[in-house]
Symmetry: none
Subunit: 205 residues, 4 copies
DNA sequence: CATGAATGAGCGTTCATTCAT
DNA sequence: CATGAATGAACGCTCATTCAT
C-alpha cells in the first residue's frame, strides 16, 4: 500500500511489511514519550521485540524510522479524511459532519500529531516533500468539500484558507491542549469552532 | 528586564547580559538551521565568538541555552503584543490594526516561531510552565482586545477561541509556509484572514 | 564465583567473566602506576585490548572499575587467608606458618595492597561497606587462629588487637617499603615480626 | 620555619606565610571531605577567602597545594614527636607516656593522617622523598627513645621494627576506625596496645 | 598584589552502525 | 534471516591555568 521509500535488505515483502509495522508501532510509542532524538535505536528494537541487528535489516538509518513513522501517521490522517470526504451528496450538513468527525479523529491521534509538528526538521528533504504533498492533499479535499457544500458563498481562495484554518484548529486542539483541554471538552470545542465557522460563512442552521 | 532563571558563575551583571544575548542570537541562528538536538554546545560557543569554557561560564547545561532562547522569543512576542493592545480606545479599527501588526511581526519572526513549536518537548518542566503561562497571557490580551472592540457581539468563550485562532493563524503562516507563502503574500494572507474574521463576528466594514 | 555487583549489558555470562578479568587486570596495572583518578577509561580499555565502547558494555561508570578491582583484590586476600586458616590442627607451629605464608602473599600483592589503601575514599558507600566487612572477616579468621593456637594465653580482645596488628604489619611492609624493604629482606622482616609476636604472647620456641 | 619548596611570585615573605597557612587550612578542610582529586582549586581559593587569581600568586600548580598540605601535616606530627622525645631522663615510664601522648595526638589528627595515606601517589618525587625522610626521622626518634628506655633488652633492629609498629598502630587507629573505634575507646586501645608492647619487651609494670 | 573572565585540552559517557557467527 | 558484541566518533561538560585590568 505504502511506497517503498525505505530500503530493506530483506527480500520477503510480507515479512518486511510485518516487521515495519512493529517498528512503526514501537517508534511511535517511544517518540510520544521522549521524542525522536531522545529515543535510541536499541530501545526501538527492544520495544518491537527483536534485536538491534534485526532492526537494521529493515531500515538503513535511524532517520528511516522517522520516515516510516511520518508516512504512517500522515497516511492515517489522509485516509481518514479521504473516507470522510467521499460522501456522495455535498451539503452543509455533511460538511459539519466531516469536520466533527475529523476533530474527533485528531483528538484520538493527539500525540501523533505532536510528533508530526516536532520532528519535521529531522526529516530528509524528499520525505519532507512527500509529507507536505500529503498535507496539501488534505487541504484540497477539505477545500473541495467546502466549495461543494456551500457553492457561491466563498471564493476559491477563501475556501483554501478556511480549509487550512479548520485543519490547523484541529492541530491546535493538540498542541494547545494545556490551555484548551483544561477549559473545554472536545464536544464544546467542536461546537464552538463549528459555530464560528458557520458565522464566517454567513449561514444559520 | 528578563528574570534570571539561568545561573551564571560570572558576577558582572552587564557582562552576563551581553554574553547571554550573544548566546541567544547564536543559538537561534543554529537552531533555525538544525534544531536544538543537532546543534552542539561547541557550535553555539563558536558562533557566539568565544570558547566552550566561556559558554559554560554563562550557562549550566545545554538545556539552559534552550531556556534562554525560549524566554527571549516569548518575551519578544509578548512585549510586542502588549504594546499593541495598550492602545487607549478599543475599537474595531484598532483591533484590525493590532492583528495586522501582529501578523507582520510573526512574519518577521518566522524561524523563531518554528523553534517555539519544535523544541517544547525538550524544555524543563518549570520553564515549560512559564512558557505556557506567557502564551496564555497572549491569548488573554487578544481576547480582551476583542471583547473591548466588539462588546455584546461575542461571548467570553467565543472571544477566547477567537483569540486562540488568530494567534494560531499567525503561527500557521510560519509552519505551513511551504503551502501558504507559495500562494499568497503576507498582505494577501492578512487581508483574507481579516475578512474571514470580520464575517465571523458578523461585522461589515 | 564473585557476586554480580556491577551491571553489564552483555548477556553471555562467560564472556562477561572473561572481559571483566581483563578489565581488572588492566585497571590494576594502571592504578599501580598512576592511581584511579589519573587513569582514564580510555587507557583502561586500551590496556585491556578493546575499544572504549566495548569497555562500557561491561561497566556502567568508571567507579564500577574501581569496584571490580576492589572486589577482586579483597577476594584474593580473603580466599588466601581462608585457605591458610583451614588447617586441621590448631597449633602454635601452624599459626607461625599461617603468618609466614600470609606475609609472603602480601609481599607478592604489594601494589594491590597499596591500591586498597589509597582509593577507598572513591568507593561507593555500599561497596565500601562490603570491603570493610571482608576486612573484618579477615581479622576474625586470624583471631580465631590465634585463640585456637594458644588457648588461655590471650583474652579475646587481645587476640582481636593482635590479629589487627599482624594484618597491618603485612600492609606496613608494602606502604613503608621505602624504609623497610631497603633495610630488610622479606625473610628477615618475617623473622623479626614473628620473634616479637612470640615474645608478646610469652612463648619460647 | 618551613623550607620554601613551593615557589611564589609574591615577594613579601610574611604575607606569603600568612596566605599559605590559609591555603593549607582550607585545603585540608576540603581534602578531608572529598580528597585531593575531587577538590578544585576554585574551591580552595573560595574557602581561603580569596580569588583564584590570588591563589595562583602563592602556588604554581594544584600539586603545590598538596605539597604544602603534606609538609604541614608531617611537620606537625614530627614536631609533636620531637617535643615528646626530648624529655631528659629516658625511662620505661617516660616511653609509655610518649606512646600514650602520641596515640592521643594521632587520634586528634585522624583525618590528616588519612590524607597522608591516600594522596602520596600524587606527590612529586622530591616532596615524596622529603616526606619519607620525615617519616624515617619519626621512626628514629621513637627507636632511640625505646633503646634509651630499655637498654640491653632489644637489639637495634628490633627497636627499629618496634618503632615502626608503634607508629603504624597509631595510624591503624585512623584507617581502621570503622572496626576499631566501634569496639574500643581510645583509652582502651592505648591500654591494650601498651600492654602488648610491654609483654613484647618482656617487662612487667 | 588582587581580581575573575577567558581558555581549551581532556574527561566520562553514549549510541548509531557494522559484521562475524 | 537473526543475533548481539564490538566499534569509535562525537557529545556535554569540567577545571587547572593564564593574563589583562
Amino acid at each position: 500500500m505504502r511506497a517503498n521509500t525505505v530500503f530493506s535488505s530483506v527480500k520477503n515483502a510480507t515479512l518486511v511489511e510485518k516487521r515495519r509495522n512493529e517498528i512503526i508501532r514501537s517508534a511511535i510509542a517511544l517518540f510520544k514519550q521522549k521524542g525522536f532524538h531522545r529515543t535510541t535505536t536499541r530501545e526501538i528494537a527492544k520495544e518491537a521485540g527483536f534485536s538491534i541487528g534485526t532492526l537494521y535489516e529493515y531500515i538503513r538509518t535511524k532517520e528511516d524510522v522517522l520516515m516510516l513513522v511520518y508516512e504512517s501517521i500522515n497516511d492515517h490522517v489522509f485516509r481518514h479524511l479521504a473516507t470522510l470526504t467521499e460522501v456522495q451528496e455535498p451539503s452543509l450538513e455533511n460538511l459539519i459532519t466531516i469536520i466533527d468527525s475529523y476533530y474527533r479523529f485528531i483528538d484520538r491521534m493527539q500525540e501523533e500529531v505532536l510528533i508530526l509538528y516536532q520532528e519535521v526538521k529531522s526529516l530528509e528533504a524528499n520525505v519532507k516533500k512527500e509529507v507536505l504533498q500529503t498535507e496539501r492533499n488534505q487541504v484540497l479535499m477539505l477545500k473541495n468539500a467546502i466549495m461543494a457544500a456551500i457553492p457561491n458563498k466563498v471564493s476559491e481562495e477563501e475556501a483554501d484558507i478556511l480549509a487550512n484554518n479548520i485543519l490547523v484548529h484541529g492541530h491546535m486542539w493538540c498542541f494547545r491542549r494545556w490551555t484548551l483541554q483544561k477549559n473545554y471538552t472536545i464536544d464544546e470545542y467542536i461546537a464552538m469552532q463549528t459555530k464560528l465557522l458557520l458565522q464566517t460563512i454567513q449561514v444559520d442552521i
